[in-house]
Amino acid sequence: MELARAQAPGKQARRSFKMIREVNVLIALIVLSTIIAVLNPRFLSPYNIQILIRQIALFAVIAVGETFVIITGGIDLSPGSMTALSGIICTLAMANGWSVTLAIIATLAMSALIGLGHGLAVTRLGIPPFIITLGTYSIARGAAAVITKGWPIVNIPASFLFLGQGIILGIPVPVIIAVAVAVFATYILRFSVIGRHIYAIGGNIEAARLSGIDVNRRITFCFITSAVLAGVTGIVVASRLGQGQPAVGTEYELIAIASSVIGGTSLQGGSGTVLGALIGASILSVLNNGLVLLEVSAYWHQIAVGCVVVIAVLSDVLQRRAGARRALIAKLITGKNPGGGVSAGLK
């Protein structure tokens, strides 16, 4: 009874502490949207909302993939280039007479293989994630250009366009894909054994390994997830555009990392949620969309995005400091009062 009573506040405290970040960012998103809506009511027009959620859907998928890698304490710089390359591979396959399904499967398989390569390079060869994915960042982008010689790939079957342009029950298909990805990712991170292992690895890789967790396999899984989700994004973008474009996805990796970080994922690993990544992607999308509506020069967009990222990280650091102070106090309280435990052991 005593124990049960003692548990309740701790549980609550922790949950509310964990959610603070998401709530804060959500409030920021609402404030930002309100300001833009007031300055330009067209922001809330059905047409604009449609554009906006398509944008969010695209960013969200890639941000969720990135979040997997960042939680383990790694980073993936390749999603933007992977988006371009997978779009090219998929359209190229179809232009050469492959069926839509086969082309998609082949594209995702290629993405998974590249992700596997990242994972093995990091876990078996000890190459830092930053370096190996920087390599892919450059190679995949270059490969997309070499394959196409810079020209778009057209001649793709009309049925393929459904993925990017179709609408089911009034909801754009890319949004449905994004929701599916988010549900799957939430399940993995929050409810499955793998997810628990991923957080443990990010929190303390050595302790995770010594607890019998197959650390290498889990990290590789995260790189594969990120690469496959970049592949999904590439396919959706190609379908949306109706062609394979070697130049798409530029700076998507930065958007992915920024969304993740804005949503509360720590670059040191061990924390981060799918919900956070979704809200982060939403903030960046709303910001972009709003600046267009407010007719701010495109040159300013990057500055705005940069500022948001810095503000998000800054607020995180400040909060962490406050958290550390709280933890210290809690430690002093529990440390100060070991009498119960000590005497219990001695009686």
């Binding site: 124990l3 003692a6 548990q7 309740a8 506040p9 701790g10 549980k11 405290a13 922790r14 949950r15 993995i188 409810f191 499955s192 054994v193 793998i194 997810g195 628990r196 292992h197 957080y199 443990a200 929190g203 303390n204 050595e206 302790a207 995770a208 390994r209 010594l210 607890s211 019998g212 967790i213 197959d214 061990g270 924390s271 933890a327 210290l328 106090i329 809690a330 430690k331 002093l332 309280i333 529990t334 440390g335 100060k336 009062n337 070991p338 009498g339 119960g340 435990g341 000590v342 005497s343 219990a344 052991g345 001695l346």
Partner: protein, 504 residues
């Protein structure tokens, strides 16, 4: 015993530092309660107390890390009020932390003069030659043989500590506070550190030595101040008192040191044959159910390396492992866990726990996979039940299973690591320095827990650098030296002298 005394040499000196009526509260806890504290020049004062007794807080108030709520500090006859550690250092009070504040890629000289580099000429270029020369003089004053041009990262822990001390001297420190300075040193290195500390004392510098290791306190201290629950509870002179007296003051009651109970020892549970790695040479031994097998040896003798090889962390060149008579192939910790081994590693913070996770999540960390498949749902019911069961069984002091593990005291954190393995019902538990850095009361609790586990039929391997712990807890003792087992003693025949004679 409670009356104030003069330092051991009996000289009537003025104290270099007097702290009077120091109080400090953190929300919900009175960390320091009207504490009196004084240090005399040329004195080694040992400050002891359990974790959370207030020693660190007191030292942090002194060195300007924490602001005090009330009380006065008089240093060198003048009232002082340090707002930052820098102010304290400038006045001549330096605190040397367990984690050193050295830049590993710079030379010894560059570290000592960091932030106050000597320059020469009009352009104020860095004068490496004179910094090296002054550093050399400082080091020889300490009796340390380290080149001023050596890179700090190439030095041993003990040598880095000497550099820290030299740095303090270069800032003209009159009072040096050392927080657990011997925690990571070998006994030889500790001896050298003690010589240095004594040398500093003889030069008139006051030393405050904060330590858990009471044997050392008695070796080095001129005077001991004991704290408990934020109060100063007593003062002792080592030559006129015993370790038992100190412990009694620390915990407020007498303490029975090793609660080892008889356990029924039966058939072999673990057999290790001819294990060889690049650090271990042909080690064989057996462990029986209910047996506690102690491994003694100097730091670097290969004990940790041996268990790392057994547990599949380090690669084995040769050797076989049998568990309950069956040969097992252990190539990773995962294999080891699957074979029924558990490891409580040397450093619980960096190897044993995910500190920012909840107690519940740490307890279930090793068992969570066994109770659900990779892609399937976490077995939350099992997890909650395991957490609740072991918090109660091991008497883990925590507000609840959702408490962040980092907020627990060292002893309770160690119990969480133990609980993690017990959820798996292992056959063999390997304990590497299980009571390092935890306070006296919690130590006893961990000891009785180990004894209880042996009674329940577990085979236990116990590695410890504290010989009394090995002698008090083990049924049989292996002594290692240079990567080999050099001797084996049954409990009745083992003595500190015999073991040390083999270990060296």
């Amino acid at each position: 015993m409670m009356q104030p005394m003069q330092p051991g040499d009996g000289l009537k000196k003025e104290p270099v530092l007097v702290m009077r009526g120091i109080s400090k509260a953190f929300p919900g806890v009175q960390a320091l309660d009207d504490v009196e504290f004084e240090v005399f020049p040329g004195e080694i004062l040992c400050l002891v107390g359990e974790n959370g007794a207030g020693k660190s807080t007191l030292m942090k108030v002194l060195s300007g890390v924490h602001a005090r709520d009330s009380g006065t500090i008089i240093f060198k006859g003048r009232e002082v009020d340090f707002k930052t550690p820098q102010q304290a250092i400038q006045s001549g009070i330096t605190m040397i932390y367990q984690e050193f504040n050295l830049a590993p890629n710079l030379t010894v000289a560059a570290n000592i003069f960091l932030g106050k580099e000597l320059t020469k000429g009009r352009l104020h270029t860095i004068d490496n030659a004179s910094m090296a020369q002054k550093t050399g003089a400082l080091l020889s004053r300490l009796g340390v043989r380290v080149s001023p041009d050596a890179l700090v990262k190439d030095l041993s822990v003990a040598e880095q500590q000497m550099v820290e001390i030299a740095k303090a001297l270069s800032q003209d420190a009159k009072l040096i506070i050392m927080d657990e300075p011997t925690a990571t040193l070998t006994s030889r290195e500790t001896e050298i550190l003690f010589q240095t500390i004594r040398r500093l004392r003889d030069q008139g510098i006051a030393i405050v030595f904060v330590s858990h290791r009471l044997e050392e306190v008695f070796m080095i201290g001129d005077r001991i101040i004991v704290m408990r629950d934020g109060k100063r509870v007593g003062e002792l002179i080592p030559s006129k008192s015993s370790i038992g007296d100190v412990v009694k003051l620390m915990v407020g009651r007498p303490l029975k040191e090793f609660p080892k109970q008889e356990a029924r020892i039966s058939g072999t549970v673990l057999e290790v044959r001819h294990i060889t790695t690049d650090r271990i040479k042909d080690v064989s031994f057996t462990l029986r159910k209910g047996e506690i097998l102690g491994f003694a040896g100097l730091v670097g003798a290969g004990r940790t390396e041996l268990i790392r090889a057994i547990f599949g962390i380090d690669r084995k060149i040769a050797g076989e492992i049998y568990i309950e008579g069956r040969k097992v192939d252990i190539r990773s910790p995962k294999d080891a866990v699957a074979s029924g081994l558990g490891l409580v590693p040397e450093d619980r913070k960096s190897q044993g726990l995910v500190l920012q996770m909840a107690v519940r999540e740490n307890i279930s960390l090793a068992g969570v996979e066994r109770n659900a498949r990779s892609f399937s749902r976490l077995n939350w019911q099992w997890e909650r039940q395991a957490a609740r069961e072991f918090i109660e069984k091991l008497r883990i002091q925590t507000p609840g299973p959702e408490q962040i593990t980092a907020n627990l005291s060292g002893g309770n954190q160690q119990k969480v690591v133990l609980a993690k393995w017990l959820t798996l019902h292992p056959k063999v538990l390997i304990l590497d320095e299980p009571t390092r850095g935890i306070d006296v009361g919690a130590k006893t609790e961990v000891h009785s827990l180990i004894s209880r586990l042996a009674q329940e039929g577990l085979g236990i391997i116990l590695i410890s650098s504290e010989l009394p712990e090995i002698l008090g807890m083990s049924d049989r003792i292996m002594v290692m030296s240079n990567g080999r087992i050099v001797a084996e003693f049954p409990r009745e025949e083992a003595t500190q002298e015999k073991i040390m004679a083999c270990a060296i």
